[in-house]
Structures are given as structure tokens and as C-alpha cells.
């Protein structure tokens, strides 16, 4: 199934792209996806925040077709 992945700030720079369309299997969790991204890009990144369709989710959250997933470092606004 098809999903969109977005990266922000330092993570966007490390991954080298801001947005990607990915084809993933059913029953994949957001953490499965994150681990695959880390391994594909040979990255280490300790503190990541994860959202699905603009809401924060737990690592075990299961993805659905069409989801917009985002990964980013700790936020530093305000």
C-alpha cells in the first residue's frame, strides 16, 4: 500500500529529502517503517518524534493506506 513520509529539520537534511512516497506492506507499524528508513539510509537518530496524519502516535501504531507519516527531531519552537 502507498503512504507519504515527511522529514523535518535536521532529519530532513540527514535523509536528504523532505517528502517521499513509499510502498509498504500491510500491518506495518510506524516504528517498523522508522527502523527500515534508518537502515535504508544507514542512519543513527536517537530522539525521533512520529506523527500520522498530523497526530502524535505511539511506535506500535499501525499504518493504513494513504497515511501521511512524519518523522522529526524534538521540536524547538516558542
Amino acid at each position: 500500500m502507498q503512504i507519504t513520509v515527511k522529514y523535518f529539520a535536521s532529519l530532513r537534511e540527514l535523509v536528504g529529502e523532505a517528502v517521499a512516497s513509499l510502498d509498504i506492506d500491510d500491518s506495518v507499524t510506524v516504528n517498523d517503517l522508522w527502523q527500515k528508513i534508518l537502515s535504508d539510509h544507514q542512519l543513527e537518530f536517537e530522539q525521533v518524534m512520529m506523527t500520522v496524519n498530523h497526530e502524535y502516535v505511539k511506535p506500535e501504531h499501525e499504518l493504513k493506506s494513504g497515511d501521511e507519516v512524519a518523522f522529526f527531531p524534538p521540536v524547538t519552537g516558542g
Binding site: 515527511k6 523535518f8 529539520a9 535536521s10 518524534m49 506523527t51 498530523h54 502524535y56 512524519a70 522529526f72 527531531p73 524534538p74 521540536v75 524547538t76 519552537g77 516558542g78
Partner: protein, 145 residues
Amino acid sequence: MLIEIRNKAFNAWTEVQIYQDSQSFRGQYGAIATFVGSMRDFNEDKKVTGMTLEHYPGMTEKHLEAIAKDAIGKWKLLDVLILHRIGKVKIGEDIVLVVTWSAHRKEAFESCRAIMEQLKSSAPFWKREDIKAGSKWVEKNTPGY
């Protein structure tokens, strides 16, 4: 309620004034708490010359709105205003403005501070500081309590 992301410099006090004057709740609030975060020329002992703020278009606005609505419900506020800068920010410019209007001061103070803490810990914004050696992402916010 007004939640806005601004990519141009704004003056916090003028913004509060304009928004407050546009509302019809005069005489109903007795307490207004305000927080303004602005751009300092130093951070963690390093000299900073400027800053660029990135956000997550679509999510950031929605997330700030959820924070404001939660606060209105929890503290029975009359209204909330949140403005946040993005883009290139110069020394002394305002980055964030949070205003809460309520009948009593306890609710105004507590909600204003709680909104700021939630914004700091979860609203998707990232700062990149311009320093002598180039520029550098800010890694985390300082604790607020």
C-alpha cells in the same frame, strides 16, 4: 480564538491590541495573561546573530488550535490568541505570542503558562541558529518549570 503562523515580523503588543479591540467581550474579562518569546542575541553562552524557523505546514496550525481549545475548556477561558513566527528572524523580533482572557487571574496565569509549555514540547517548529561558525539546529528547548 485566533491561531496564526506568520512569516513576517510582527509586534506582539500591537497584535494583542488589534485582536482585543476586534472582539466584543470587553467588560467580561478581568484578567489577561500574556507571554511573548523573542529572539535573543545569545543561547547557551553562544553569540547568535539570527535564526530560521521551520514548521510542519498543515499540522502546526491544527496542533496549536487543539492546544488552545483544550485550554479554553479546562480553564473556562473567554478567549485565546496564539501567534508564531516562521522564516528568518532577526535579533529582538518576536517569535511567539500567547494571550489568555478570563474572569479571574488564576485561570489566566495558569492557562497561559500551560499553553506555552505544550507549544514548546509538542508544536512542530524547529529553530536553526546563525552563529559565528555557520548555522546549527537547536537540539532541545530549555525546561519551563
